[in-house]
């Protein structure tokens, strides 16, 4: 079965540094998402992306965050200046129209 691939599996970054999390969605899926999950807490919606633009974003997704689909296969989440509270698991997901989302296994982001 096709998979959503996320890299790296674990990213350690100094506070204030920029970080880019990468995702390779399932080919021919058209809708893309980023979520985060702080340890022990619920999965939180960050942003959805369709037709090369942001479709919806949450209050968490402030000016420090951006998303991009640079080459038609990768889907990236950039955090410009990381804070301690950005430490979490970040999940990428994708789906076809009318179908459920498929999730990757996440990138664990640790901010020191």
């Amino acid at each position: 079965e096709p998979e959503v691939t996320q890299t790296p599996s674990h990213q350690v970054t100094q506070m204030g540094q920029e970080v880019i999390l990468r995702c390779v969605p399932i080919s021919n899926h058209l809708y893309f998402y980023w979520y985060r999950q702080i340890l022990g807490q619920k999965v939180e919606f960050l942003v959805s992306f369709y037709n090369n633009e942001i479709s919806e974003k949450s209050e968490i997704f402030d000016d420090q965050f951006s998303v991009e689909r640079p080459d038609g296969s990768n889907f990236t989440l950039k955090i410009r200046s990381t804070k301690l509270e950005d430490s979490a698991m970040y999940f990428c997901a994708c789906r076809s129209p009318g179908q459920p989302q498929h999730f990757g296994d996440g990138t664990r982001l640790s901010i020191l």
Binding site: Y33, Q41, K42, V43, S48, F91, F103, G106
Partner: protein
């Protein structure tokens, strides 16, 4: 305020019994509701989706019901097995003009042999 509540943080049942998990929501009008399974350190895995005009869906040992009047979904696992032990997440897909999915906090299910 808008809320999604899953009935309990943890549920312990004996192997072979039926597990019933509850998802209640307030002040949302979901287009559809989904149930996912999440194992430690892994991403959510889709199990079942039910649309607002559907009352019940089944897949093998899984059954989900959806009552938009009560604003509640029930998720059943029949003939439960220790391998069913995991966290089960309820998620609402919202009619927002865009695409937004809101997750509940999950219920951890422990199935004892």
């Amino acid at each position: 305020s808008q809320k999604i509540e899953q009935n309990s943080e943890a549920l312990n049942i004996q192997e072979g019994k039926t597990a019933t998990l509850t998802c209640n929501y307030t002040n949302y009008s979901p287009a559809y509701l989904q149930w996912y399974r999440q194992d430690p350190g892994r991403g959510p895995v889709f199990l079942l989706l039910i649309r607002e005009n559907e009352k019940e869906k089944r897949k093998e040992r899984l059954k989900v019901t959806f009552d938009t009047t009560l604003k509640q979904s029930l998720f059943h696992i029949t003939a439960s097995q220790p391998a069913d032990s995991a966290t089960y997440l309820c998620a609402l897909d919202l009619r927002t003009g865009g695409f937004k999915t809101i997750f509940g906090a999950g219920t951890r299910l422990f199935v004892k042999a």
